[in-house]
Symmetry: C2
Amino acid sequence: MTRYRALAEELARSIQAGVFRPGERLPSVRQTCSARKVSPATVFQAYYLLEAQGLVESRPRSGYYVAPHPPPRLPEPETPSRPDGDSRTLDVSALVFGVLESAMQRDLVPFGSAFPSPLLFPLSRLGRALATSAVELDPWRTVDDLTPGHAELRRQISQRYLVDGIEVAADEIVITNGALEALNLSIAAVTRPGDAVLVESPCFYAVLQTLERSGLRAIEVPTHPREGVDLDALEAAIGRHAPRACWLMPTFHNPLGATMPESAKRALVELLAAHDIPLVEDDVYAELHHAPKRQPPAKAFDRNGRVLHCSSFSKCLAPGYRIGWVAAGRHRETIARLKLTSTLNTNVPAQLAIARYLQRGGYERHLRRLRATLAAQQAQYLDAITRYFPDGVRVTRPQGGYFLWLELPHGNDALALHRQALEHGMSLAPGPIFSARREFGHCLRLNAGHPLDERADAALRTLGTLVARRQDRASPDGVA
Amino acid sequence: MTRYRALAEELARSIQAGVFRPGERLPSVRQTCSARKVSPATVFQAYYLLEAQGLVESRPRSGYYVAPHPPPRLPEPETPSRPDGDSRTLDVSALVFGVLESAMQRDLVPFGSAFPSPLLFPLSRLGRALATSAVELDPWRTVDDLTPGHAELRRQISQRYLVDGIEVAADEIVITNGALEALNLSIAAVTRPGDAVLVESPCFYAVLQTLERSGLRAIEVPTHPREGVDLDALEAAIGRHAPRACWLMPTFHNPLGATMPESAKRALVELLAAHDIPLVEDDVYAELHHAPKRQPPAKAFDRNGRVLHCSSFSKCLAPGYRIGWVAAGRHRETIARLKLTSTLNTNVPAQLAIARYLQRGGYERHLRRLRATLAAQQAQYLDAITRYFPDGVRVTRPQGGYFLWLELPHGNDALALHRQALEHGMSLAPGPIFSARREFGHCLRLNAGHPLDERADAALRTLGTLVARRQDRASPDGVA
């Protein structure tokens, strides 16, 4: 395939997947050239082709825009969640484990999984970096690279922030056993048992489990399935509850896929700073943006070290290596000490290997390929869902990550559907595991991080049928 | 050197180091043959040589015994600790960090370090195992080897228990980020904030830090510097405080080096079982026995899954790899779930590498060499201490591990001595960091896990002088 056709196909998939919406401006020719390392001619040819296909339209002296297209049969969810506004202790961990453990068999189609396909990662190239690091290991590194972690790896991470225009000193970074440890240390650093913490509704189940385990109270804040947390509601909750921390996922939210607009992220950081509330920012999907443009984290707007920015290499480069970090701002010292008394240190050869891999280059090339694959897979999943699922279903079009969030017509019980799906050889992540009050009983998170092969396609078709049947039974006109 | 001379030298060092005490029976010829894989003739020759040197004596129809020798100039500490018997919340972490962080510079002579020399480990052979594991990594392992951990590694660990006659099913084992995570998960699994926990006095500072961080109360139990925790006192404390857990290090205790006799370990497990109190057993130095015979853990006497046996490869094989485990008995499920919500998983390539190393053999050979080296180093340190330290100093003769515990004459302030030692280019671990009430102000833990090279020898001589000077100042007859 020629370059321009490849580029046009990729953009077409992004448009179909909702990454670029009708009426939105496409990246400029110059932006695209520099992001893709292609010539202007290639970009123009790609845009001409898309124009000929009716997918984009040019506007003189302005650029290329996504053409209006007929509303898709299955619309996006548009209603923000409506939690009750109370703060509460939690009792959901057993439900979450029950669901997750039932879905752990490898032969299931992994719609309920939290991981993308491990085949998407450069594990053998990374393995060679690890091999070299391991064989050449200076024994004293095992003593010197204690928490906060290997200096060169922290420097490389600091550099990546800088490329995005964010100043994070290497000294501010503490290496952790994956992002989950970073998040746990962060919330431990800024709270004490009994404190209330602001979270999204729905939110990643591990947030709820951590709060439950730590004796913290959750305040669920209304969250829009595309735009993320509602700042007015957040401000009201601050006034009502005097929370001690805020734990959010402002970019490619799990499970919604929502991304807060830049202006909202800035306003969020300012609002929290005004109330002296630290923000624990989970940003593990940051690298998985489908469009060329990266979404800045809330950390980008942090002026006084109140944002604890947590991420890892597990979702974008090195699954199983368990290398994450927190850019901990003013809490760096507390975090390092918590880490020293809880897990002491992080695997040294793996830290060296990732530092070596980042130094040698190739990471950007891998990420471009990974992003394109995930965007394409999302388009395929959306297409299949549109074909197999009944009217009344709503589905998100996230701009990054690999999760789709489905709102099923009322009458669908996601927990029952989950059990039924297991019998049909697939796992699901039912809505209630993402909620302190077991809400979202008619919602599902679907993993689009695995190729939509024949088996997965057949499973989606079965799932669509199961949903339609439940709907029929629930509806008064249905044939039960 | 001939084999028998090498064996004789090793035994002589063990006798000098106090591993075998005057009047104690040496291992039988048959035991020694099988433990060392040498012929009976070699063992006999070694014993004849030791007899000729006056170090051992034979008793007809009974075997070889360590000859009585004149009491060493610096005796062992013999007084058990006398904590006040109260239960208390903790406030020692800042002191501990202050001391540890001041001692972190690489150019210091590491008497205060918790780690042995990293040069004692087969890091390049292990690195080759890691290289192979990394390059041949099946990507699906990164998904399948989630907590409780890589099945083959758990099987290998289970096998090592079995060789020692302890039945621990692979299913009971959860792989962790080093022993410290295993210990933290264990104590979290069996307590809630506010609970009281039985610990030794003195005890490893990380125990105190974990209890402080977790809002737990400590009950310090009298502990003998050679025989470990006092069971009568333990029983009294149980009656008085209704503790929820017991956290001990019955073998090669840190910092004392004490090892509970087998009968005491058995009685400990029975006593705790009678009161339904779980035992968190820290056994990280288990492999580092100086004498041929292995010390069974308390876990060996566990009949009903109440002992959570925590260990790791960090001190005996793979520093920096952060691979530990807990054999969690009846708490296995709770521990696995705590791990899933705190650090999710443990580095997969490192788990595979250690499993591969254990499979290929060579571990026993490495351990024999490591044990001999540590025993020899301990003898050298004891010898130097005897030469350089003044009368009135007492020093332990542990049968394993690499820590010496020194009781200095009263008038010595270990925290002040620590600061003074830093100025002289060496670190120390002063007694108060091992105590909830900052006791043991006249005690030191000294790391004998690094070769006693010229620099270390000179540092020991300086330290001896500093101790003698403080003593002189304190004594009424001293020349200030």
